[in-house]
């Protein structure tokens, strides 16, 4: 049994409770921002934080437990001031809202996993069609960390799964009983929605006739059996980077640049980075990314200035931009939207949120599949 079977029936109740507790957290945040916190208000928040911490991980939200615990500890010190409590409360509120938002959007059918960075499945999908169970196992083992691997035993099942999962890449055995790999490819080519999915053919031999056959049918690459697993892994990753989309991450904080670059790369995208506004514009013109994540406040040319120049240039006018900003005043947010930003993420952010919003704008999110 998996935790999901256990937790699904309790989902409604837990979420209703979470909604109520979130409001309590929001109310406390307002008190803190008012400058002074009464003892009774502090006690209420302490109890709520304790309860949130005590149930978060159990229900599959370790991040709720983590952020609630941090706040609980701070509140445990009666001398702790609003200045310390505010960021911790914001963090907890943000986490709770994230969970509620994700579940309401139906992003994941399961309760367990949302809000847990390691479990959210934003990995690209790899479909492997092969009648040989050892090959299927090998592929699963090779790629399970970077991809969500889906397997088919024959051509018919492969076509069915392609339509269902819209994989980012397909590893297709050429020789299978019933429908051959070539036939699968031909069927895919005939379907507009499936035509562009890159396919690597696993051929029985490496003779030129086999290669020609595979490539004419539409495979973007091939590898002969028996293959070197390392070679296959290299081919697959290179392919995904080439055929995938490109995202530009511009932030003067190298830690944020690295973190977001890592997240987007792990999701199968190509990433270019820039440490400031000028470099961001140069990269955008050079590489024509499909998406830009811009820090709003950078020294020199800031996010707003970059956005304005992107919009002024017909070549980059349509580039969707996501702002990362600590400014949460309504008027700043509205200004951003007026200038044409596609989405906003408020700092401190969860990298998964940036990734999710970015993928959605690229039409690559779970909902778009």
């Amino acid at each position: 049994m998996n935790p999901n079977d256990l937790l699904k029936p309790l989902r409604g109740m837990y979420l209703a409770q979470l909604r109520e507790r979130s409001e309590s957290v929001a109310a406390f945040l307002r008190h803190c921002r008012g400058g002074r916190v009464r003892d009774d208000e502090r006690d209420v928040m302490l109890r709520q934080a304790h309860k949130l911490a005590g149930s978060g991980t159990t229900y599959g939200f370790p991040l709720i437990t983590q952020t609630a615990r941090a706040l609980e500890e701070a509140l445990g010190d009666p001398a702790s001031e609003p200045a310390v409590l505010i960021p911790l409360t914001e963090s907890l509120l943000h986490t709770c809202e994230q969970v509620l938002l994700s579940v309401e959007r139906g992003a994941e059918g399961s309760l367990a996993g949302v809000g847990d960075p390691s479990a959210a499945d934003l990995r690209p999908v790899l479909l492997n069609a092969d009648d040989d169970p050892m090959i299927r196992e090998l592929v699963q083992a090779l790629f399970k960390d970077d991809f969500r691997v889906v397997t088919a035993h024959d051509g018919a099942e492969a076509l069915h799964l392609v339509a269902e999962h819209k994989p980012h890449l397909i590893l297709l055995d050429e020789i299978m009983p019933g429908m051959t790999g070539i036939e699968v490819l031909e069927k895919m080519r005939a379907d507009e929605s499936l035509r562009d999915i890159p396919v690597v053919m696993l051929t029985a031999k490496a003779q030129s006739s086999d290669v020609v056959r595979a490539v004419s049918a539409g495979a973007v690459d091939y590898i002969a059996k028996p293959f070197d697993p390392a070679e296959l892994a290299t081919k697959v990753r290179a392919l995904l980077r080439r055929s995938g989309k490109t995202v530009l991450v511009a932030d003067d904080d190298p830690a944020i640049r690295d973190l977001l670059a890592y997240k987007f790369r792990l999701a199968g995208l190509r990433v270019i980075t820039a440490p400031d506004g000028e470099e961001a514009l140069r990269q955008a013109a050079l590489h024509r990314p499909d998406l830009a994540i811009l820090d709003r406040m950078m020294p020199g040319l800031d996010g707003v200035a970059v956005l304005q120049q992107l919009r002024a240039n017909p070549e980059t006018r349509a580039l969707p931009v996501v702002f990362l900003t600590a400014m949460r005043q309504e008027r700043d947010i509205l200004e951003g939207f007026r200038l044409g930003v596609a989405d906003y993420v408020i700092k401190p952010f969860l990298p998964e949120e940036v990734l999710a919003r970015g993928l959605r704008l690229l039409g690559l999110g779970a909902e778009a599949a």
């Binding site: 049994m1 935790p3 937790l7 911490a53 005590g54 149930s55 978060g56 159990t58 229900y59």
Partner: protein, 127 residues
């Protein structure tokens, strides 16, 4: 005391903890579970349900876990029923404190619903 562990009474002031504990102990552990929301009715519930073991939350309003434990020990029905405490605070000193009080074990919150039954079973076997 070579008995089998079959019936568990859970006492906690939080509904969501009670529900997940019940499902977890029933579905994963195969136990028969009764729930008691809050400490007030713990003693009467123990008398009515006659559990083999009581899972008792520490932090409860009005009467907390240790006090409820004391009341159980004073009662006829609850005098000999093994108790496992459930608490968010699990420093070794605290665990020792609860064991000194007479509990057979301590489960930390938040607990993993997939391993709760095993934890309790192990405490039962070792008692």
């Amino acid at each position: 005391m070579a008995q089998e562990l079959k019936r568990i009474l859970c006492v906690d002031d939080e509904e969501d903890i009670l529900q997940v504990a019940k499902l977890s102990l029933e579905m994963v552990g195969g136990f028969e579970v009764s729930l008691c929301h809050g400490s007030r009715d713990a003693v009467s519930e123990a008398a009515a349900f006659r559990p083999d073991l009581i899972l008792l939350d520490v932090m409860m309003p009005e009467m907390d876990g240790p006090m409820t434990f004391a009341r159980l020990r004073e009662s006829e029905a609850g005098a000999a029923i093994p108790v496992v405490f459930m608490t968010a605070k699990v420093q070794p000193a605290e665990v020792k404190h609860y064991l000194d009080l007479g509990a057979i074990g301590v489960v930390s919150k938040p607990f993993d619903p997939m391993t709760l039954s095993q934890q309790i079973q192990e405490m039962w076997n070792a008692r």
